[in-house]
């Protein structure tokens, strides 16, 4: 299906049907079904076949539209095989999977080849690769679902913002997996945010135990090890402040209608110090300032046995929005609005339901790339503030052109950070580590 021309064909069918009382429409529609199933089939390529990619593809294939998965790409063959096995084992979607061996692409350049087969691409590799993949998808004129974060450094953010401009001109829908934008409770709270007056401050938390680890295996090259254990390397993951906490800061940006202009903070690596944890911190606390002077206090921590909390709180002149509890209260504690949690949806599914409905209708509705890039940049600024211990300004950072990605992508190429003789990686030291 050529999604860019979809609108005109649909309009033509509709117009013809009106003129001829339906007679014209019949041969056109049956003709459409003559080629490879149906001209209405929306073909999807999955780029990045881990747990989230498999989840996103499953959601795409669970929409009402006539969607088919036609190609898969990953740096690792076993990731493709596991993902394919999971999806073909799911009776609800297996009839929508058409990925023969020759359309399973493995390696660093696999994405380009897989994309070529599709109308829609799902970009779900580790975030370091997102700018490269997004740029290529826009170049190839694809509709796009991409996961957050959308980059790990300012140079990557710049590439995403530039490509987002071109996507806009080409009218390519871009949905970013910041799913709170697609969650009923958040949408309701946003619609009623005037109840708290002007937002003067906010708090955001992602404190929990942390995530998985993939231990080094003796046969792995350094590049392969880092790709397997990607969460703990900044060029791939961005640190957990970027990879997870972005969700909470993104909510504040969304409700504020902008992004912070500067940040300062503190952080470190207090408990999670083993070599298998690469180079990222286990806690960050960042004070962000928006253009109007309002403050966001943001904290994220990966330390088991400590207070666990993932939430956002906005304080305004007239009250507070409690996102997790999904209610709004005035300053005396009186509930002004309570979202009924029975009305909560599966926001991951809604992202795809709305994207594919728009694509099928030939509509251009979604341009999430810009706010996705700004929220990612907010988190990157926070990371660089805690790593350096300096006050960082948005514009300076954006113009720095800082690029932390490898020069070359190959299994025998050297990643930007390397272990010492004992397998440990250098960790940022506030006051010494410089970023700009």
């Amino acid at each position: 299906m050529n999604t860019e021309n979809k609108n005109s064909r649909r309009d033509f069918v509709k117009t013809s049907a009106v003129i001829t009382g339906g007679i014209m429409a019949t041969p056109l529609l049956s003709g459409a079904n003559f080629f490879s199933g149906s001209e209405d089939t929306i073909k999807v390529a999955l780029i990045g076949c881990g747990g989230r990619g498999t989840g996103a593809a499953t959601q795409a294939l669970s929409t009402k539209q006539n969607v088919k998965l036609v190609a898969m790409a990953d740096a690792f063959r076993d990731r493709i095989d596991n993902s394919f096995k999971e999806m073909t084992g799911d009776n609800n979607i297996k009839s929508r999977i058409d990925v023969p061996q020759e359309r399973k692409y493995v390696g660093f350049d696999a994405y380009k080849k897989a994309m070529a087969h599709a109308d829609v691409v799902i970009l779900t590799t580790p975030p370091g690769f997102r700018p490269i993949h997004f740029e290529e998808a826009v170049k190839q004129g694809k509709q796009i679902f991409m996961e957050k974060p959308v980059a790990t450094d300012p140079a990557g953010i710049k590439r995403v913002l530039d490509a987002a401009e071109i996507a806009k001109q080409k009218k390519l829908n871009v949905v970013v997996g910041l799913q709170r934008h697609y969650q009923n409770s958040y949408r309701e709270l946003y619609a009623k945010k005037e109840l708290i007056g002007d937002i003067t401050s906010a708090q955001a938390w992602w404190n929990n135990d942390g995530v998985w680890v993939n231990m080094r295996k003796p046969e792995q090259t350094e590049m392969e090890y880092q790709m397997r254990n990607w969460y703990y390397f900044v060029w791939l993951c961005g640190d957990h402040i970027v990879e997870q906490h972005i969700h909470n800061m993104d909510v504040i940006n969304w409700f504020k209608g902008g992004h912070p202009v500067k940040a300062q903070g503190m952080g470190g690596r207090q408990v999670r110090k083993g070599k298998e944890y690469g180079e990222i911190f286990d806690h960050h606390y960042v004070e962000y300032q928006y253009a109007d002077g309002s403050i966001l206090n943001s904290q994220c921590r990966h330390i088991p046995g400590t207070m666990s909390k993932v939430d956002e709180l906005l304080t305004g002149t007239k009250g507070k929005i409690f996102c997790g509890a999904a209610n709004i209260k005035d300053h005396s504690g009186k509930v002004l609005f309570q979202f009924d949690k029975k009305g909560e949806n599966d926001p991951y599914q809604t992202e795809h339901d709305e994207l594919f409905a728009a694509i099928a209708k030939g509509e251009y509705k979604f341009n999430n790339a810009e706010y996705g890039a700004h929220s990612t940049m907010t988190a990157i600024m926070g990371r660089m503030a805690t790593y350096s211990g300096q006050v960082l300004e948005w514009d300076k950072l954006m113009n720095s052109g800082l690029n932390i990605m490898p020069k070359e992508f190959a299994w025998d190429a050297m990643p930007p950070t390397l272990p010492d003789a004992d397998g440990f990686y250098a960790v940022a030291v506030p006051g010494k580590t410089k970023y700009i």
């Binding site: 747990g51 499953t58 997996g177 929990n208 135990d209 997870q244 088991p304």
Partner: protein
Amino acid sequence: MNFVNLSTHMNRKLFIFYILFILQQKAISQQTDTSFKAYEQSIPGSTLKFKMVPIKGGSFTMGSPENEKGRDAAEGPQKNFSISPFWMGIYEVTHDEFDIFFKDANTSQNLGTDAITRPSPQYIDLSWDMGREGGFPVNSMQQRTAVMYCRWLYNKTGIFYRLPTEAEWEYACRAGSSSTYFFGNTESDLEKYAWYKKNSNAAYHKVGQLQPNAFGLYDMLGNVSEWVMDQYDENYFDKIKDISTDPELKPTNRHPRLLKGGSYVDEATELRCANRTKWLPEWNKRDPQIPKSKWWLTDAPFAGFRLVRPLKQPSADEIEKFFTLYLSN
């Protein structure tokens, strides 16, 4: 009995043998009489204990009559069963207890096998701010996670604990009653015994705060809903129609299994003794990964469990087979 006289009529060896025999018999009968009673189980590696009470064997009518308000067809036709004796936890398993396992640094984490292994970390706190310390029921877990806790506990204590079967659970809940709720049919009395939608304030509560049933079991209805062992089958009563003692549907698929007792989110009808809550895929709808977590449920904060210990403990071999069946399937 005059032992001295007796001894004069028997040779000395026989006499000693006879005395030993009597003492042994007495010891056995004492063990049977005194050991099937309430006790406290310490959890190794902690100062925590949980209370178990004996549930004597007996028979009961399982399921609900056709005229019961809120009844589902899968709750019948009613049938009479004999149930063998077991102990049951008087409370639902708490976060405090479960955390001894969850945070046991000597146990591996998130292995893909049926070996004793701890659950993966929760990406977000699945107690949803309802309380974790001081006696709140543990929640949001898959049935497999509850069974893994049993396996860990068996490994630590040498005692075989497991979840109740659907029939054992209902037998213990009814505690001799045959009414809609174990205390009768009057819905308005429910708040004396159960945390449910009307009185829960949308959260679970510390275990054991309300009145127990006739067997001394707290929160059987409401608070968290409780995993039982069986495979869920809407034709359960048909499948077990030829069985008269200890019915159980062994698992053939990972899903669906079921919860009993209703929970703090439910209306009164869901708290009926006969009610059966079938697992639904939506219980993990906000897990963005595939495969979805084997351990946790992102959207079933009401799912919890309690333990039983069968009076007749299976052999070590049978116990291994049991865990393999429930954890690998």
